[in-house]
């Protein structure tokens, strides 16, 4: 290729790349990396009723690791996470499987997929509120059950309970499972399924032995989303349990409300470490960049 007559580029290709990513890097450094370092730093600070100030004490961590509340809270959070993950995975996989393999025209696939994603672009808080008329003491669910005669008195545990919390989580987060699983399923070579069918496999065996293993990376990405979203949540737990249930996120937000920032920071660091550990185990099974 002739280079003559063309200006020599002012920057090398690598320099151009660096210039292009600079704004992203600066924002992430200042609003993500630095805040995390600050959290770690402040977690060693001291505080009183009015303010917090620099120090180097381990009290905040000692309190966390010697308190029974911590373990109860983590146990509760993990229970909520596992239930939510289970339902999100089962529902998300089924929905994605239907869209990818049973809906035949691409137009319909896109249309139905959009139908699933639209709620994601609306407010989570309003989607939580919208369960009130459904689950409340005089809500639709109770009225319907009474009408049919399945129950004699309204069920009290529908709203403001762990049941409601998990229900809201599944409602909010199943999409995070549908999207990556659908994405991986759409990339499965259809001839593999043809081959399995020609070899005499039933639809169910194809699902279990061909599609499921190939969809695993998608399930893993979805799981990472669901697990981290639930582990870090404080608002859904507070709202849907009516303040009765607890989670790590809620403990942190309560400490923030009491202006006990160093304690909140210490809890935040422990939560971050826990989530990172869980993710580290999960990503061993998937290469995220290959999946896009």
């Amino acid at each position: 290729m002739s280079v003559e007559g063309r200006k020599r580029p002012f920057f090398t290709a690598e320099q151009v790349s660096w210039i292009l990513v600079a704004p992203l890097l600066i924002i992430l450094l200042f609003f993500l990396f630095l805040p995390m370092l600050t959290l770690i730093q402040v977690s060693f600070w001291d505080y009183n009723e009015w303010t917090f100030f620099p120090a180097f004490i381990f009290d905040n961590y000692v309190y966390i690791f010697t308190s029974n509340v911590t373990f109860a809270t983590y146990w509760k959070t993990i229970q909520l996470t596992l239930w939510t993950w289970f339902f999100c995975t089962v529902i998300g996989f089924t929905v994605a499987y239907f869209l990818a393999f049973h809906v035949r025209s691409l137009t319909w696939q896109i249309a139905l997929f959009l139908l699933c994603t639209i709620p994601f672009w609306t407010s989570n808080i309003i989607r939580m509120i919208s369960w009130i008329p459904f689950l409340g003491r005089n809500g639709i669910a109770n009225s319907a059950l009474l009408e049919v005669g399945l129950i004699d008195a309204p069920l009290e545990w529908l709203l403001f309970s762990d049941f409601a919390v998990v229900l809201a989580f599944v409602h909010l987060f199943t999409l995070f499972m549908v999207v990556p699983v659908f994405n991986t399923m759409m990339r499965i070579d259809k001839s593999l399924i043809e081959a399995a069918r020609d070899a005499g496999a039933s639809g169910f065996r194809i699902l279990i032995e061909v599609i499921l293993p190939l969809a695993k990376p998608g399930i893993m990405i979805g799981s990472i989303f669901v697990v981290t979203l639930v582990m870090g949540d404080f608002i859904t737990v507070r709202f849907m349990s009516g303040g009765q249930s607890t989670s790590v996120g809620r403990v942190i937000s309560n400490e923030i409300a009491l202006l006990q920032y160093p304690a909140a920071a210490a809890n935040a660091v422990v939560l971050l470490a826990t989530v990172t550990l869980i993710i580290a185990v999960m990503v061993r099974y998937v290469d995220i960049r290959k999946e896009l």
């Binding site: 630095l34 805040p35 995390m36 239907f98």
Partner: protein, 279 residues
Amino acid sequence: MERRVPSFYLLGAFFALFILFLYGPTLTIGILSFQGPNGGLTFPMNGASVHWFANLFEQQAVGDFWGAFSRSLILGLMVMVSTVSLSVMAGLAFRERFRGANILFYLTISSLIIPSILVSLGVGLIFNILDWEVQWYSSGFGAQLTWTLPFGLLIMFAVFNRFDKSYEEAARDLGASWWQTIRFVVLPMIAPMLIGVALFGFTLSYDEFARTLLTAGSKNTLPLEIFGMTTNVTTPVLYALGTMTTAFSLGIIMVFLVFAYWMRARSRRLGNDAGKGMV
């Protein structure tokens, strides 16, 4: 064509239930927001009226609803513009190898995985320590970008993974400069997809709660305002507000989708081959 297997209908029914599960509650509060003036938070409807919508326009009833709405709108647009431009730039850069690319990629991904409340707390603490005042347009804006940029970048990865590079090479062989190639070849080809990035940027910001909670300062954004209401408002005005904002979100989504569709149709009509290089 193959005959439909029975499992199709079973799965179809499951899918329909899932859609009902997704939309049912929202529709319910949509209906209930038209409660009569004496109606409560649940069925039955006690007459029908727009009383609760009218209530939204009275200052004292729901706090500073319009102020919060306009702040959220402006912030959403700020985040949208920044997300689109920064994601495209980073997306272009990530097509080539450069030193530090992996670290930056994982830093970006970690932004999705770190619980939002930690970002909120961390940014709030930095501003506190530096003795800067937290404001929705400074700290709130930055905190929201940590949520929208990873989505933007992931979409750009998906876009460029399907991008046929031979169009670019052709442009360069014809003597186009780097900038001309980007401006006249790459950007027109990826434009319809950028609408998706913009949609993510705007709506994620407009509905963002956790990362804005400790970074918005004294002036609430709309989700913060709504959350404040949930603790002390026990009338259907809450539903009216929910219906209004959801309708607004749906309107925005429709605008984006129609715009994306229109752009594709336009490039097809003009005989432009933009978008066809996507493999």
